[in-house]
């Protein structure tokens, strides 16, 4: 029975060595009878998940994460959900590895408040780094316990056991995991301070391999069930009718305008919340469109072309110094210091999931069940409980995958809409937003304004760096973005301003003698904010890495050399990233801009570097651009990324994420900007809010630095941080003008070109906005 694939005896010995004292499997009748785990929502089966018996959700319990049934199949319970990034596959790889079980014998249950532990929101590139490591620890602990149990049952010493594929053999006997623990609880505590030993990376069979993703075949063959495909019996269809202006009050509504639509069932009005319920989806859509309602006028937004003045004039709720060394003011006042300053801005973005927000809800016996693609079902449960005045135990939120989710988009809002309509209809209701609902009402990535100053001594050394970030505050009590339905209906809610941890990466990875970085946390921001992929880190790194490039240009130093000069020499991984970047991109050492540009279409290259949140994933990037000085068009034919996220679970999965980061952020950098008037968002479709399309996709070249002995860090967001600055720096290299205001539209490029033509050659070219 022992196969070649099994780990070495020494490995078994080492791992089996530190057994937990006092361990015992639960053998009581109740546990014995525990049925198999609830079914995952399988493609093709619009099932109603039955309420399973209570299981531990305690983050300190092995049982919170893992259960092995009598067939030896391991169900992994993860509070972190797969947002279309392939993390389910990666988590299964981790468990298969540490438990010594076949990959095929693992399965996932995710994001169900009743059965999965609350491992926090699926955000911040933490699914593997945090969630995966909790699960890894659980798997290693479980394996240790299984070995101990086998020692007892087989009466063989631990060092004489062989373990592979969920089977323990030794002394001529054998026991499967199913026989040892099948259907019962482990009743084991995790010890995060002293975790069970994990496998030696040299013996890894699953970690580090590009296993194909579990979900792609069914997605490609049309039998995957997205939330949009999810149905429950007796389900009705709902639509919301949002006010035409933010803050408008519903004055009257004429039900007769829709009562003749075949299939129309009900109008739901709750304060300023308005919705319709119908027998079928098309009837709901028609009723939503044709419903006549009058609303009060409302103008709560600033004028778009005064947005940055508005931001600058918003009351500062708090000022947070995110880093500080030396005395910036003194250094700036030094005679002969060369002073530089610049202002950067990044506009409001929408999430723009290709499938709009969608949810199904059912009230039954005073309990609410909500199915949605929420990235934070445990938080959603709290919010829905507050909204409907229910105890949290009476609300169950279940994750069903939706279209790509890049942060807190509209899913939670659709869940609240569905719940409100379901309560009124007395039947389960499915709500799917229209494209205009999505573009108009999903929470937005807030506008970001950044002022930077620096002083350079007469030998070209940076003496001081001073930056101020104008960012909406994050109210301290939590990351609960208000639910639109609760707000409109005037139902109970905790009203947070929750843009996420957008102060991150305001501090810099360079050791200048005097540094001060301050975040001015603004009391308000024009549209309801939330986090969108790489929140704050991307905008802040845009300013930091472009301004660093400005300093390098003034000092006439090669941009990579400039960074290496100021990086902590002990930070070898950071230096490695930049060294490998030079090789990957065939970087020619020279200062920017390129000399004597000629012609209208000019080529340039720019780089950017980031250590994510200054404590984890390292990314270096080079963008190659072609800029047409006449039309203002920027093309990015090639984009290079060097990426070090430590241990890599699934290299192809990481590459897929890096490619996605590059393309999505290129889109945000070059073309995206939410448009609004004084009343509401006006970019309500893909024509008014375009995103990058195939003809403009760069060739992306990736160098993954694999460090199997290190901790795994996140990969879902970090690369986005370096994209805008790499492109802006490349444009500067090509045509000698700085783009400091995203998006880099042709109009802004043209304005920058004509601006810089007017400037004295020695001055730092300056462009923030193209407004005249």
């Amino acid at each position: 029975m022992t196969k070649r694939l099994i780990p070495s005896r020494r490995d078994v010995l080492k791992r089996g060595g530190a057994l937990i004292v006092g361990f015992s499997f639960a053998a009581d009748a109740a546990a014995q009878q525990r049925p198999l785990p609830p079914p995952t929502i399988r493609p093709g089966l619009p099932v109603r998940v039955p309420a399973p018996p209570a299981r531990s959700l305690d983050l300190a319990d092995v049982d919170a994460y893992l259960a092995i049934d009598i067939s030896g199949t391991c169900t992994i319970y993860s509070g972190k959900v797969d947002l279309g990034t392939g993390t389910n596959t990666a988590l299964r790889q981790i468990v298969a590895e540490e438990l010594d079980i076949r990959f095929e014998n693992t399965q996932m249950v995710t994001g169900d408040t009743q059965v999965t532990p609350d491992q926090g929101t699926t955000w911040g590139s933490l699914t593997i780094q945090v969630g995966g490591m909790q699960i890894r620890n659980a798997a290693a602990t479980a394996r240790q316990a299984l070995v101990a149990e086998a020692v007892k049952r087989l009466a063989v010493k631990a060092d004489e056991l062989f373990i592979a594929d969920g089977l323990i053999t030794g002394g001529g006997s054998r026991a499967t995991y199913g026989e040892l623990v099948g259907g019962r609880a482990f009743l084991l505590k995790l010890d995060p301070a002293n975790p069970a030993p994990t496998k030696n990376p040299r013996n890894h069979k699953f970690i580090g391999r590009s296993l194909p993703r579990e979900d792609i075949p069914s997605k490609v063959m049309a039998n995957f069930t997205y939330i949009h495909d999810f149905r429950v019996p007796n389900m009705l269809h709902g639509r919301v009718v949002r006010p035409p202006a933010i803050g408008a009050r519903l004055q009257s509504v004429d039900e007769t305008s829709v009562s003749g639509i075949p299939g129309f069932i009900k109008l739901v009005r709750e304060g300023d919340f308005l919705g319709v319920v119908a027998e079928n989806e098309w009837a709901a859509i028609r009723a939503g469109r044709e419903l006549k309602a009058t609303w009060s006028p409302s103008q709560t937004l600033p004028e778009q072309d005064k947005l940055w003045d508005h931001v600058r004039n918003t009351t500062v709720a708090a000022s947070d110094t995110t880093s500080g060394t030396g005395d910036v003011e003194k250094a700036m006042a030094t005679p002969n210091a060369r002073l530089m300053k610049a202002t950067y801005d990044f506009p409001i973005n929408t999430h723009g999931s290709i499938g709009p927000s969608c949810a199904v809800a059912e009230f039954r016996d005073g309990k609410l069940t909500s199915w949605s693609a929420s990235q934070a079902t445990h938080n959603l449960r709290k919010q829905l409980a507050t909204m409907f005045g229910l105890p949290a135990e009476s609300v169950r939120c279940i994750y069903v995958e939706g279209a790509g989710c890049y942060g807190r988009n509209g899913h939670e809002d659709a869940a609240a809409d569905a719940a409100l309509l379901a309560r009124a209809a007395g039947k389960p209701v499915r709500v799917q937003w229209s494209r205009a609902d999505e573009h108009g009402w999903d929470p937005k990535g807030p506008p970001t304004l950044i002022d930077l100053r620096a002083a350079m001594d007469d030998r070209g050394n940076v003496a001081a760096w001073d930056s101020e970030f104008f960012l909406p505050q994050q109210t301290p009590s939590g990351f609960l973005v208000p639910l639109v339905a609760a707000t409109l209906a005037g139902m109970p809610a905790e009203n947070h301003i929750a843009p996420g941890n957008i102060f991150q990466n305001s501090a810099i990875p360079y050791r200048f003698p005097n540094v001060r970085t301050v975040c001015r946390r603004l009391e308000t921001t024009p549209l309801r904010p939330s986090w969108i992929r790489t929140p704050g880190r991307m905008q802040n790194t845009f300013a930091n890495e472009c301004f660093a490039d400005e300093l390098a240009a003034v000092a006439k130093i090669d941009p990579i050399e400039f960074r290496k000069k100021y990086m902590d020499p002990a930070d070898r991984r950071g230096h490695d990233v930049l060294d490998r970047l030079m090789t990957l991109a065939k970087w020619e050492k020279r200062p920017s801009p390129q000399v004597s540009p000629e012609g209208n279409v000019l080529k340039g290259r720019g780089m950017a570097y980031c250590k994510y949140e200054l404590v984890r994933t390292y990314i270096g990037a080079v963008a190659e651009v072609e800029v047409d000085r006449v039309s203002g068009q920027i093309r990015v034919p090639k984009f290079y990324v060097v990426h070090d996220c430590g241990m890599i679970i699934n290299p192809d999965g990481v590459k897929n994420q890096i490619e996605g980061n590059v393309i999505q952020t290129m889109s945000r950098t070059l073309i995206e900007e939410v448009k609004f008037n004084r009343s509401q968002v006006t970019s309500l479709d893909w024509e008014s809010y375009p995103i990058l399309t195939f003809p403009d996709i760069p060739d992306i070249v990736i160098d993954l630095i694999s460090r199997p002995a290190e901790k795994p860090w996140g990969a879902g967001e970090p690369t986005s941080a370096v994209v805008p600055s790499a492109i802006s720096n490349a444009v500067y290299d090509a045509i000698g003008v700085r783009l400091r205001s995203a998006p880099f539209t042709p109009q802004k490029v043209k304005a920058a070109v004509s601006d810089s033509a007017l400037q004295a050659p020695d001055a730092t070219p300056s462009l923030r906005r193209s407004r005249t």
Binding site: G84, R213, D215, V220
Partner: protein
């Protein structure tokens, strides 16, 4: 008053009951027939998520009124791209799996239907031609590079 509508979907004749003769095809496919391939993305012919084949041509089903479709039009959805009983999946579907050409995969229906239609008329497209053919199909996850690779790979299979 519900009316009966006869359609030819994925090689089968179906009769569905509808209220509005101008309801877009997408809702019959998804709601009356329970198909999951075609997706709602925008309802505005701007994203391609709802793409199906009508008489072999890629069509945005979200803006195709039923009144324009009869049972003489062969409608094929992602479900029907690989003929029933076929030994292997359609080359484009195979290639998408092999290239792992999806993140969330919500756009993938449109990507596959559009590129299958492209390969039916242009058996050996260049990368630029693939990008042009898919220029009106949106992907928010940034899976474009893999999608292009998958279509090129599929074009090699279909050359036989």
């Amino acid at each position: 008053m519900a009316i009966q509508k006869r359609l030819n979907v994925n090689g089968k004749l179906v009769v569905v009951k509808i209220d509005d003769p101008d309801m877009p095809l997408l809702y019959v496919l998804r709601d009356n027939m329970g198909l999951k391939g075609p997706k709602f993305g925008c309802g505005l012919a701007q994203c391609g998520a709802c793409t199906v084949h009508v008489e072999g041509k890629p069509v945005r089903s979200c803006v195709t009124p039923l009144s324009q479709v009869t049972d003489r039009h062969r409608v094929v959805t992602l479900e029907g791209l690989t003929p029933t009983g076929a030994r292997r999946a359609h080359p484009v579907q195979r290639a998408f799996v092999e290239e792992q050409a999806a993140q969330c995969g919500y756009c993938i229906n449109g990507m596959i239907m559009e590129s299958a239609a492209l390969l039916a008329t242009n058996k050996k497209p260049t990368e630029a031609e693939v990008k042009q053919a898919l220029a009106k199909n949106l992907c928010r996850c940034g899976t474009h590079a893999r999608i292009v690779r998958a279509v090129i790979r599929a074009s090699k299979y279909t050359q036989g």
